[in-house]
Amino acid sequence: MSASRAPDTDDGPPPFLGSWRNLYIAVLSLLAFIMIAVYVFSRAFS
């Protein structure tokens, strides 16, 4: 059993949206959209 695994240097861009920054913004935008959608949904039926 080795003391630790081989270091991983892979830090390339994500397979979509070009950069990690764009992907993070997309995830956070989706969260904002979901929160607004959920709020609108509950208001519509309350």
């Binding site: 059993m1 080795s2 991983d8 892979d10 390339g12 994500p14 397979p15 993070y24 956070l28 969260l31």
Partner: protein
């Protein structure tokens, strides 16, 4: 449960076991056994992450919670995507580049052996106790609903987990997680579709949601800022983010999942997928509970959903009161049904004023029904074990057993078993990894052969599983200690997060300063727990803030006294 349902349940469990053994074959080195040779793609890792956090209780209590309390629990998950983004940007590349087996191995590299020991000790204490509960809690619910002895259900869950983890290691665990999550999602979606079909023909989906809204069950967002309120938008975004940061960033049961990714990119994508999928998934589970509530507006639900506890209350010393309560409940539910029917008829006719009248009547009768259920809970808790005083975990399964068609009942129970297996196996593999890497190899037997560590890894996997089963055998005798066990885990997360934040970003902060900060942080969190009404989600924020602040001040103070010393203290 009918014979076809037992066949569906048994076949599903057999398939999960065989699939786990099959996918885990070839784990001949410790690296493959504990880290799946870092060979997994982001899809497998993402589903494994989701399966580990989704315990059986998630799938039984979440719909039950929505039935009782509405959908406000959803807000708890709003902080999770924020945490996923932060961890993808920080923790994932750090853990990967250092090539560690465990999160606590990183603490020794960054600080010193005592910090590794502290992290390991806190994890083994909290997660070790929680693992017993992860097996016991669903075993209890399943035993009550299926009429089996809790010893058999816990042995079934624990036995399968031991077979899968001890034979195939983490690779088997992660691959079976994918299968288990697929079974869970299929079962829950099918239950949701059938539930909609079981609503009365005159009740459309729009009517059902309007009824839920009228009864106050669609309370998804609460903008108020109240430290004592567990579920508000702010508690969810801030407190929920800290919980998720601690759970996914410092808890080995999750860290181990994304360490199996074949690259930083794959692990990051897995976490981000979890961030994207988790909130909609919880929304669906809560909506399922709300629809069960709407269904029971038109079909009389039991006064108390735990059938065993209700039977004991009916025949116990308060039996007469309980039966009288059931009679009053029957009348109140009938009145509520009439109000619901009037509301639907008025809504469909477009009659605004009658709809408003029916809505107010529905709210009033709902309050009566809730009050009667609370009274029933008091009677049940007076005569039964403390764990039987709440019936939230039994609501969804009671609906499933009574109203779902043959075959689907077995599938939903298979979902619950699968969820129990997935969370237990994730925790078990993490406990075994910590035991072997951070304790056995590091402090007890540091210079043994690969074969020796391989055997030891299998031994620890099995040993933790046996411990979980043993815990479940005696858990019913622990009474209120069970609640203490549940609370215990939540008291350490803030401190652990503070330690890791200092490790990542406090470049001048050393081990001793972090240790002092951790002790202070834990003392403050325990004080909050004992002497304040602050909602537990805030403990993580408070604990983390105290650890970081004290450690920084300690470092500054030492530097002023001894300018030549920096990172050492």
């Amino acid at each position: 449960m009918s014979t076809p349902d037992w066949i569906v349940l048994g076949t599903t469990l057999l398939v999960i076991t065989l699939y786990g053994v099959y996918r885990g074959r070839g784990s001949t080195s410790v690296r493959s056994f504990l880290l799946a040779d870092r060979s997994l793609g982001w899809g497998t890792v993402a589903l494994s992450i989701m399966a580990t956090q989704a315990s059986a209780i998630t799938f039984t209590s979440t719909p039950g919670q929505a039935y009782v309390d509405g959908m406000r629990f959803l807000q708890f998950y709003f902080g999770l995507p924020l945490a996923m983004v932060l961890l993808s940007a920080t923790a994932v590349p750090k853990f990967h580049r250092l090539g560690v087996y465990s999160a606590y191995e990183y603490l020794e590299r960054r600080f010193d052996p005592k910090m590794r020991l502290l992290g390991t000790g806190l994890f083994l204490l909290s997660r070790g106790l929680a693992t017993g509960m992860t097996i016991y809690a669903p075993s209890l619910v399943l035993s009550v609903m299926l009429g089996l002895d809790v010893r058999w259900t816990s042995m079934l869950i624990g036995g399968i987990v031991i077979i899968v983890t001890a034979t195939g290691g983490v690779k088997a665990v992660n691959h079976t997680h994918v299968l288990q999550l697929a079974i869970i999602m299929t079962g829950m979606l099918a239950a949701g579709v059938v539930l909609l079909m079981l609503l009365p023909p005159e009740v459309s989906v729009g009517d059902a949601l309007s009824l839920a809204g009228a009864a106050g069950k669609l309370n998804t967002i609460d903008f108020s800022f109240d430290l004592e309120n567990r579920y508000t938008l702010w508690t969810g975004l801030i407190g929920g983010m800290f919980v998720a940061l601690a759970y996914f960033g410092t808890d080995q049961s999750q860290v181990q999942r994304y360490l199996t990714g074949k690259s930083v990119t794959q692990s990051r994508l897995a976490l981000l997928f979890n961030g994207v999928a988790k909130v909609p998934m919880q929304f669906f589970m809560l909506l399922l509970g709300v629809l069960v509530y709407v269904f029971f507006l038109f079909a009389e639900p039991p006064l108390f959903f735990n059938p065993t506890a209700a039977a004991e209350a009916r025949s116990g010393i308060h039996g007469e009161s309980f039966r009288a309560l059931e009679s009053r409940y029957h009348d109140a539910v009938a009145e509520r049904k009439a109000a619901a029917e009037a509301f639907v008829a008025a809504r469909d006719a477009g009659a605004t004023e009658p709809a408003g009248v029916a809505r107010r009547l529905l709210m009033r009768t709902e309050q009566t029904v809730e009050r009667l259920r609370e009274e029933a809970g008091v009677i049940v808790s007076a005569g039964a074990a403390p764990n039987d005083s709440a019936d939230t975990n039994y609501i969804f399964l009671s609906f499933v057993l009574t109203y779902l068609p043959v075959g689907l009942v077995g599938l939903v129970f298979a979902c619950i078993f699968a969820a129990s297996l997935s969370s237990s196996s994730g925790e078990l593999s993490a406990l075994a990894t910590i035991s072997i890497v951070d304790v056995y190899r590091r402090f007890l037997r540091p210079r043994e052969s690969e074969t020796h560590y391989m055997h030891a890894s299998r031994f620890f996997m099995a040993a933790w599983g046996i411990y979980g089963i043993a815990f479940a055998q005696y858990a019913s005798r622990l009474g209120s200690l069970i609640e203490a066990v549940n609370i215990l885990g939540s008291l350490f997360y803030g401190t652990m997060l503070g330690i890791f934040l200092l490790a990542f970003y406090g470049k001048k902060v050393g081990g001793t300063a972090t240790l002092v900060g951790a002790l202070c942080g834990e003392a403050v969190v325990i004080s909050c727990f004992l002497w304040t009404q602050i909602a537990w989600l805030w403990y993580n924020v408070i604990g983390c803030a105290v650890v970081v602040t004290v450690a920084l001040f300690w470092t500054l103070a030492v530097q002023r006294q001894r300018p030549d010393v920096h990172a050492e203290q």
